[in-house]
Symmetry: C2
Subunit: 329 residues, 2 copies
């Protein structure tokens, strides 16, 4: 009896593979490098080879598998299972990834946005387990998001919803790569936090980070965190501004989706309480007073495995039928 | 065979009643005054009497009706069908309205937030008909909203989602009645638009509205619309600011829910193109450039009947079973 789904998480540097069983138990996770310099074909072959190896390593045949879920960066055509464009892999345009992988491995496949898949992963097997609806925010190069309502990924009518990194938290604010001004991502991603600190230093502001910048050539969010901890005023100001806007985003999430939990992931969350405590302080001050805050804000637990687990979860939801849907939570 | 559901829309001044059939055809709408000064009991009795009259007027018995949907201002306890508090009706606290109405009329009943019901009404039988997911924004005293995803009302996990009037469109901005600063409602409701104009006049700004204010004792959004049309600079500025923030809200709705259509209702929408044209201009300027705008912005068509029609639609979804769900769109 088919008791597994395959998850495949396509990243710009690595492709991750793993199995998820009917009770959301994860096994067999491994990764292969992404051949990202020769167009789509080597990438597709690597994904197929990895899927087959996953089965062989675990002594499974295609009859033991209901299907494969593929998490991929976007933009995607969900209906037809096509990757429209992968900015990190030159030449990867309009690739019918779903059908190629299905044919190559020999099991039905489904394509999903990687951030959405990560949201489902945390919901099924990570920090969101035991919660109702959740919203995942990934704080890295950008701010990604995955929204789970009634156990399902919310896509929006045209498949371009759940882009919470691009809600406007400061009208007329700084210009984002998406062409909007004042996006959450422009203030609260790790990359943009570092960029803001470097700008202030280049404008002549005093900070211990000036020496770090001179020595390393650049600074990152971790440098800012450590400098702020050590009492650097500019670092503390930059850190706090980022969390203030993240709190605005969290309040907007409460007013729109009212989830049971907001799950934070990505590099910034390694700061732990140094992130959570000031964030919650800002949320408390910004939040309406007519009702208590009911949404919890927690840190993700699956790390980089959320995507591959969620991708397998997508396959369970698509191919697992009623029985699997009931087992999902 | 039971072929109708009853809709009841409880307002502070009137209670509206109507029938919805399996094909979303509306009939029999009438209203009765809300006895709003003697606590909950007369209100409940009026709702039951109106429901019975609706059946008698249309020569129907309870066997012809699958159920009744009740739209009510909040906050509500959806699970138990209880109205926690009606600010406009003194003493109306913790009333088990769903079960009282069900018992009184003799049909099963369901309780829903009035703005959510209006959203479903426009979706089933109004401006949202023919569209996929929709978001309704009601621009009146406040800014209310109803969100329809996959044909269903989105409530949020704790029942406090879909409060789009209280997303933050200007962090640190003006104080809203909800206790937050910079809410959409604080900038884009008809009432707050008028309040802003009066403040600017009282601060000494020159405007033809000064004379209107002196004569009438107050001004409303319609006065501002007319003055702006006649070339008054302050009126044009106030009108435009309101639509700018409404556009910020619309962009946020695209990034979160990505609906097929945003439906605007309420007094402000009587301005027609004078509202839509500058709103769309602002949305175009604020919207990201990486993809075209796919969400349409349209004006509601059901007026004050949206709530009662949507309330009946809620009953169809709850009590109509599979057949009704299929018929819904």
């Amino acid at each position: 009896m088919a008791e597994y789904c395959i998850g495949i998480d396509l990243g710009g540097t690595f492709i991750k593979f793993g199995l998820l069983d009917r009770s959301n138990k994860v096994s067999g996770i491994f990764q292969l490098p992404t051949p990202n310099d020769k167009g789509p074909e080597p990438v597709i072959q690597q994904m197929i080879a990895g899927g087959k190896r996953l089965l062989a390593d675990n002594k499974l045949g295609v009859k033991d598998v209901l299907g494969a879920g593929i998490g991929s960066p976007g933009p995607l055509d969900f209906v037809n299972g096509i990757v429209r464009d992968l900015p990190n892999i030159p030449g990867f345009q309009n690739v019918p990834l779903r059908d190629r992988i299905a044919k190559g491995i020999g099991v039905p496949a489904e394509l999903e946005n990687d951030a959405n898949a990560a949201g489902l992963g945390e919901y099924l097997a990570g920090a969101g387990k035991g919660y109702g609806d959740i919203v995942l925010l990934t704080l890295g190069t950008g701010v990604g998001s995955g929204i789970i309502v009634d156990g399902k990924i919310l896509h929006g009518w045209h498949g371009t919803g759940a882009e919470l990194g691009h809600i406007i938290v400061q009208p007329g604010g700084e210009l984002c790569a998406c062409g909007q001004r004042g996006c959450l991502e422009r203030y609260s991603s790790a990359t943009n936090m570092a960029r803001y600190a470097m700008r202030l230093i280049q404008e002549g502001r005093e900070s211990s980070l000036r020496e770090t910048l001179g020595r390393q050539g650049s600074i990152d969010a971790r440098d800012i965190e450590l400098a702020a901890k050590a009492g650097d005023k500019l670092a503390a100001e930059v850190w706090d501004r980022s969390l203030y806007y993240l709190a605005v985003g969290c309040v907007d999430i409460c007013r729109t989706f009212d989830p049971d939990a907001i799950v934070l992931s990505g590099g910034l969350t390694k700061a732990g309480d140094m992130l959570l405590r000031p964030l919650l302080d800002h949320v408390r001050k910004l939040h309406w007073t007519i009702m208590d805050i009911m949404t919890r804000i927690v840190i993700a637990t699956l790390g980089n495995d959320a995507g591959v687990i969620g991708a397998a979860g997508v396959a369970w939801q698509k191919f697992g039928g009623q029985k699997a849907a009931a087992a999902i939570k």
